[in-house]
Structure formats: structure tokens, C-alpha cells
Symmetry: C2
Subunit: 443 residues, 2 copies
Amino acid sequence: MARTEPARGMRDFLPEDVRRREYVIGVIERVYERYGFEPLETPAVENLETLMGKYGEEGNQLIFKILKRGEHEATGQADLALRYDLTVPLARVVADQRGKLPKFFKRYQIQPVWRADRPARGRFREFYQCDVDSLGSTSPVIDAEVCAAVSDALVELGFTDFVLRINHRQLLTAILESAGVGAPQHGDALVALDKLDKIGRDGVANEFVARGIEATAGNRLLALFASTAAAVSLDDAARFIGTHEAGQAALANLRAIFDLSSRTAAGGRLRFDPSIARGLSYYTGAIMEINVPNFAGSLGGGGRYDNLVGMFSGETIAACGFSLGLERILVLMTEHQMFPPDLAMNPADVMVAAFDAAGMPHAMALAAALRRRNLRVFVYPEPDKIGKQIKYAESRGIPCVAMLGENEIQRGEVTIKHLASRQQVVRAQDNAGDAVRELVGRG
Amino acid sequence: MARTEPARGMRDFLPEDVRRREYVIGVIERVYERYGFEPLETPAVENLETLMGKYGEEGNQLIFKILKRGEHEATGQADLALRYDLTVPLARVVADQRGKLPKFFKRYQIQPVWRADRPARGRFREFYQCDVDSLGSTSPVIDAEVCAAVSDALVELGFTDFVLRINHRQLLTAILESAGVGAPQHGDALVALDKLDKIGRDGVANEFVARGIEATAGNRLLALFASTAAAVSLDDAARFIGTHEAGQAALANLRAIFDLSSRTAAGGRLRFDPSIARGLSYYTGAIMEINVPNFAGSLGGGGRYDNLVGMFSGETIAACGFSLGLERILVLMTEHQMFPPDLAMNPADVMVAAFDAAGMPHAMALAAALRRRNLRVFVYPEPDKIGKQIKYAESRGIPCVAMLGENEIQRGEVTIKHLASRQQVVRAQDNAGDAVRELVGRG
């Protein structure tokens, strides 16, 4: 007997899973289209060199690598790899096609990515990202539109209480410099600050010591961040960094994004939060993260990365984007029963039942006619007793059964039974479509 | 400078490509839903052992293998592989989930597969298959429905002159046995016969000799196949195999499929063709292939494979399916301009243009209002001169520009320009949606 489970950390999606996933993807796509984003798709497989070195040391470890083929297979070397995110492939495409793409290129991309992470609850090795990115402009309109688009998508899916936390890479640098943290320790300081909510002031102070950050600098930082990071205002940050020029420019950029967002879907949801840092190294400006109450981890994140395309093309192309995580959205929507109640989960609107093999060609012809009326039709394939056939329709949630006995066939008629109401009507086969549409409420 | 092209044999799909692909996939999905097929998705990555040995020796060579990770990477060994088709993963899922799946499981699956083939014109290393499969019944209704579904999908896409060639594995065996070809040479005989159209009777006769097939047997076969295979009727085949029991059962099965198909979308398109053999070894009954005139190769193929699930579960589960090749469908539809002329290729219905940075928050608010009216809106992100902005909209095929100058903003109005007609209207910002919908013909 062979193994039948999917590979570790991967999942099979049965019809009901796919229908829920497709519903969510459909909503997100429609919203992204309304924002003028266009669809892009890239291959699952990239040249290994395209991905290596773009995601930090830890990222390199998590890339699935593909063995060379044919005579080179024996070398045990890899030359290809599975897509790790949708941003690096986008940067590669923009560098590759920059002659063909418009000046302002807004794209969405909803595709799976693969990471050789240790599988855990809610963490998979194959998962979908829903990305929007906008290239070609440094205007804060771009950042604000990205925030509006993802907010709108979540609102449309039924999320009501999410918060879009925003910060700025250059403001973070300014804050750390103003506090007196040396550049080599910026990373350490951020990792420690990131735990403020969990381990409190004293915990972070200890962590600063353990990571070799000077007490004076550490105390200055803690004074700014008070007890919870969310309470720091843009004005607090402005006072803290004083005349730090790049920092003040970053604050002006954040103020512009707030201003531009005020009458969009992101409006009341944007919160300045100097504690968010975003792991990926390629961000250069505003950085964002979406959270919902009582849910650990974020629903997605993004930010501005004006230098990534340049790593491929040598030519700097401004860019800003956001990635929503499909799997977490699905977890929450399932937990909170946020799917529309009328999302069809059954395989068909009507089942055609013949009484014997001689009736089968008539069943096929009737099914063809019903399908031309845009109904979803299941033909029961075997000449089982009619009671057994009806039970099968019931078990599958198919609302109607169209029965073709000898009498019906002779008269060119069909008996249509609505299972829930037990209503039963006899119609000419030519009119069966109308009758079924009426019975299933699509008349 | 880094390499920017996609990996060899793989493709990036720019927005217009994706829109065409999504259109075709959407049509196929809708048709498959009408036939009661339900969606299934499986991971891109399978355990290597799941795939090895299922596709013959040549297939094994073309499987992309994934290197073990972490400390095992240095061994140069693979433990995972990329999906090679959609049928073997389906058989694995059905074996894995047989307790949860319905007695008759009809699924469609439209996902990419990967083969390390030598790339050529129209042959890629990543390509999409559009599969329908029906499990749990040996009834010819199943085979006929699969034929009807793929025919209907092609009709709906605008194909008018395709032919669905059908044959039967057990009939093929009966024909070869009746001709006196020994079992070990059945494969050789079929490879030679397959070339009849290309190299003619004499060519095939020579090929028989070269492959060591006895002259008497070869001549008998050629007598049946006459000059072109398509001219052989079911009656010809019946006479040829005489009382061969399994062969006559196969013919009865084919006759039933023809009978059941007569009033379906496959009706006039089914042709018996004893020369098709289908490469894959797992077929056990009827086998099908779709061709169009003046196009080498098939648009898809399929057949009955009653023993494949049993390779995973030990329990025999009857199955029949068909796979349409998306890439070839797209090639033909592009060549013959079969896409609907109104397939939207532009990024938006309307572009919002502010005259300066102060107007930008108003532009964002107007865009939000237009999007609530379900319009696709592009906000021009920079305060360029209005003439330059309008030129940009023109270059992107965006039909309308909504302009917000200082006067308009003061009055709560907006000037909407329809670029093709040069019509220009001034409206209250609250009514802009109606005006744009009217101008773009969605009123």
C-alpha cells in the first residue's frame, strides 16, 4: 500500500475548501480591480540565484531547492527553487519588462508560495499570498492607495475591527539614533522593543542589557514607548527625534499618508505604531501591518521598497506594496462564520434520475437541455432503484430530482420533485428548465 | 546586474495574458460546474514516491525533484517532487479521503503541472491542465458525460470544428491479438500504426518489419486500417475481432457511449478511431483525444482508468477523466481571434486627476466614492500638468478622466471628460459615479 497523505506541511483542498478559498480570492480580486490594479502571474519556479540573498540568512534556509536534471542530477546540486514570496519575482519581472510596462504599474498577484518552515498550527509549507504593489512613483498617494485597497478588501469580506498599524523605516532609524543606540545594535533594539506588549517595560529593559544596549539609550527608548507602543503619537515621535532631518521627512511622509487616507476605506483604521519593524530587509519607507483583536500575528503587511527593483535592473524604480495572507483570513472567517450563507456547497441544482439503462440516453438529453438553461445538473450514473437515487440526492444536498420513468419518456415529460418541500410537478421535458429554476429559487 | 528572465521554459504572464487565461479558465469552470463537477486542489509538491513509476520510464526522467533540506541537503538527495499531472494526485486524494468523499465523486481541477521537457514552440516546463474526472462508477454514462463536458467547454469558447476521437484499450488489445501480434510487441505495433497518417501504408509496413512484427500479422492490421484510420467503423472492428470476448465487450461499451452522447454536446463530434492509443499506461477502457483541423497535436485527451486509485488504496475504484490543455487552447484562440471583443484589457474605467498636491486628498475621496459605485478607478499619483495626465490615461486605454481643479474642489464638483468623444460634463462629486457609468456604457 502506498502513502496517501499529502507531503508534510501541504494540504489537499476538497470541494468545500476550494469554494471558500475561491470566494475569498474572488472578493479580494474584485476590490483590487476597483483600485486599478492589474493581474500578474509568475512561475512557481525561479532560478535559484534570483531568490538567494533576498530574504536574509533565515530565508535562504527555508527556500525549497530543485535538483538539476538528467546527467547533472547525480551532482546533487540545485539550479532552481520554488517561489518564496511574490515581491522578489515582481521586482524581477519589472526589471525584465521595463520597456513594455507602463510608467505607473499597479499589479495584484494571488498565488501560492513555498517555505520549508517547520509546520505548525496555521503554518503551512504551501500557502497563498494576495499581493498588491504599485511601481513607478514615490508619491504618498501610492502608499495611501495600497492601505485603502487592503482595508477595502477586508471590509468587503466582513472584517469590522481590524487596525492598520503604520510606521516608517527612516523614522525608526531616527528614533534609535536619537536615543543613542549605535547602528550595529539597531536590529537588537528593535527585536527587544517588539516584545513590549508581551514582557512589559522591565522585561524589555532586561533584554536591552542582555543584548548589550547602553542603559541610557535603553531608558530613553523606554521613555518614548511608555507602557504600550500604540499610545505614542506622531507629535511624541517628532519631539523625540528633534531636528533629525531624515526622521522629520519620514514623519511628514506619514502625515501625508494619514491625510490622504482620511476619506478612504483605511480612514479610521490607520494607527501610528513606532514598534512595528517588519522583518524583511528590503523596506525603505512606510511599513504597515494589519491586526485584528484576539488574534496573534498579522493578517498581512507591507511597505515601501524603493531599491529592490534596482537589485535586478541597476535602475531605481520606486515601489510600495502589501501582502494579505489568505490562510489566516480563512481561519478567522471560518471561526467567525463570515461566509455568505448562500455560498453553494452542493454539487448541483438538480439530479436527473433514470429508472433503467434504456432511460439513460433520455436522461443525458434532459441533462443537456437543463444545462443549456444554466443549471448545474448531476446525472445519476447507475440504474439503481429510484428510492436509492433520491436518498443519494438528499445526502449530497441537491435540492431537486428530475425523474424519467417509462411513462414520462413515452409522453416526453418529466416528474420533478423538490426534496425539501416534497412538492412534485410533471412538466414537458422542454419546459423542465423553467420548473427547476422556479423550485430552486432562480426563476 | 542580475539575470531577470524567468527560468528556462517558464513564463511570466503580464496583465493582458492573465486576463485572457482567466477568461478561458472561467468559461471552462462554469461549464464543468454545469455538469456537476466540483473543484479540487492539490499541492504543487508531492512526495517523490507518489509520482515515481506512474508515468513510465520517460515520465520519471521529466519529474522535477526537490532537494532535501537542512542537514540533509548535502546528501544531494530528493524527497519531494513537483506535480507532473493532475490525475495521479487525484487518485492519491481519493485513496486518502475515501471515507469522506461521496460514492460518485466528480471533480474538476485547473492547476499548473511541471515537466522538465526540452522547451520548444508551444511546449513549456510549467503549463496548466484543465481536468475533469468522475470516480465511483463503471457506467458508460460517466464516459459520455466527460466527453459532453469537454465538448461543451470548447463549444462555449467558440471552437466549432473539433473532433473527439474515441477508442478502447481492450478493443486495441483484441485487434492486436486477432491480427496475431504477440503481447510483448503490442506497444511496438501501436507506435508504428500511430504513424499511418504521416508515413502511409508502406511506411508502416516497413516500420513493422523494423520492429520485428511478423509480416502476416502486420498485413492483417494494415488490411483493417485501410488507408486512413478514421475510416474504420465499429462494424469493421467487430468483424475483425470475431468472437474475441473482451473485444466485443469493449465494442458494446463504445456503442453505449455513442448512444448516450447522441443528444449531448459531444453528439456529432465523436468518431471511432482505432489508431489512437494514448501514451499513459494507466488507461483500462475507453480512451479519447480531441483534435482540430490544421493543428498538430491534440487539445486534450482522457479515458477510463479503473485501477489507478487501487495502486494507492488497494481498493479498486472505477474512474474516467479528461484533461484539456490550456496552453494549446490559448494558442488557437489567439491565432483565430476568438476572445470576446469586450474583454476589458485596460486597468480602469476612469482616471482621477488632481491638479496639485493640495487636491490629492480630494482625489482620494472621489476615487473612494467612484469605487463604491463599482467602477475601476486609477488615481494619477503625481501633480503633473493636466495635459500630461490625460495623455497617460489615453495611453492606458482608460476611457474617462475625472478632473479636480481648484474651482471644482471649492464647488464640490468634478469635470468628467470622455476621451474618445471629447464630451465633457460637470457634475456634483456625489453624482460623479452615475455620470461615469453612463459615459463608459455601464449606466
